[in-house]
Amino acid sequence: MPPKPAASEPTSAVHTLWKAYNENTSDRLKFIDAFLVFLMLSGIVQFAYCVLVTTFPYNAFLSGFASTVGQFVLTASLRSQVNPDNKNEFKDVSPERAFADFAVGSIVLHFFVFNWLG
């Protein structure tokens, strides 16, 4: 773990992290990361609405929130499986196989979400 920077330069660590991320991550992974950010924001907005305004209709909130969470899990696992740096961890799983798993999982998730959307 790199040593923490001095408190007077807190932006430096974030800046360094951001720079490293930008330079070292391929466009494909950034594409997936953008989707993950979108899912996170979507889930946060739905949860905030539920907390601030109303839980009605509850089933719609649950299915919408579960869809963001579930899709996030599936996409995160896809990202880790297609990342070339993780090739040693997933010797038996080709990126194509990972995508196929992602597609099947997403369809099943969407089916359950639509069932509950009401």
């Binding site: 594409f31 950010v37 109303t54 089916f111």
Partner: protein, 277 residues
């Protein structure tokens, strides 16, 4: 074939033609020594105004002969069923006493209050109505109101333990959950915008980091993406209209198609990736 309903029609007509009536119906009450207290010749069109009173030690005798109406030859009719019905109009209790009728149509009924028959229903202060019911296959059924009888008061009919449960129960008042409060339109609209905002963020981010899809519309890849899109459309259609059985059936068919298109697409991508290495 045609003769059967015709025969029935004739039988009905014949039966309608013959009505039964009583000849010399007479009721008498006696006291415990056998002396007559009261005698009534029954007019079948009108009951005696005063009920026949029978005390605890008295007895009653009813005699009559059943004949066909309009037949003055004295030939009696022995019907299949002859019942005497005792009915209390206030409590609704009734008792049926079958009577034996001779071949000549003569019948008599003895009621001894020292040994009352089982067919007498529980009595109250009100008199019982006595009617005669005659049933014969060759005649129309007859119900004749004979007289009213005042018997000593008996024990009331035993109440069934479940009887109170048949009384009118209090009306059920349902309490429903109050209808859900829907938030104000402005707040709904505002949060709708918030909910759709992440899509804008996504599009902005994707426009900046699009990795390129050069072979998206090639014949090996396009069917696969089209199948995936078709799945999403199928689910939307299910949300709007379809039933579960239908979506599962269509999904199964589409799944088989997707397996084949997917194999082709991903195999070609994989081959390219390996060739590139």
């Amino acid at each position: 074939m045609l003769s059967r309903p015709l025969a029935l029609l004739l039988l009905v007509a014949a039966a309608q033609a013959s009505l039964l009536t009583l000849h010399a119906p007479r009721v008498t009450t006696y006291d415990s020594t056998g002396n007559g207290i009261r005698t009534e010749i029954l007019k079948l069109t009108q009951k005696p105004a005063i009920p026949m009173a029978v005390g605890p030690t008295d007895s009653l005798k009813l005699t009559f002969q059943i004949i066909e109406e309009g037949d003055d030859s004295g030939k009696g009719v022995q019907p299949l069923q002859t019942f005497l019905r005792f009915y209390d109009p206030h409590t609704g209790e009734e008792g049926i006493q079958p009577l034996r009728v001779t071949a000549a149509g003569k019948a008599k009924f003895d009621l001894n209050m020292a040994k009352p028959p089982l067919s007498i229903p529980p009595t109250s202060k009100a008199p019982l109505e006595v009617t005669l019911i005659l049933g014969s296959p060759k005649h129309s059924p007859v119900k004749l109101a004979l007289f009213d009888i005042q018997l000593p008061e008996s024990q009331p009919a035993p109440q069934h333990p479940d009887e109170p449960s048949f009384h009118l129960l209090p009306t059920i008042e349902h309490t429903f959950r109050p209808t859900q409060k829907v938030p104000a339109r402005a707040i709904s609209a505002l949060f709708t915008l918030f909910a759709l905002a992440p899509w804008g963020v996504l599009l902005v981010l994707w426009s900046q980091v699009f990795p390129g899809a050069p072979r998206l519309f090639s014949p090996s890849i396009l069917p696969f993406t089209a199948s995936l899109g078709a799945f999403e459309l199928l689910l939307f259609w299910y949300w709007v209209d379809l039933k579960l059985g239908q979506v599962l059936l269509y999904g199964g068919v589409l799944g088989v198609v997707t397996i084949f298109t997917g194999k082709t697409a991903l195999a070609s991508i994989g081959a390219r990736r390996i060739a590139r290495k």
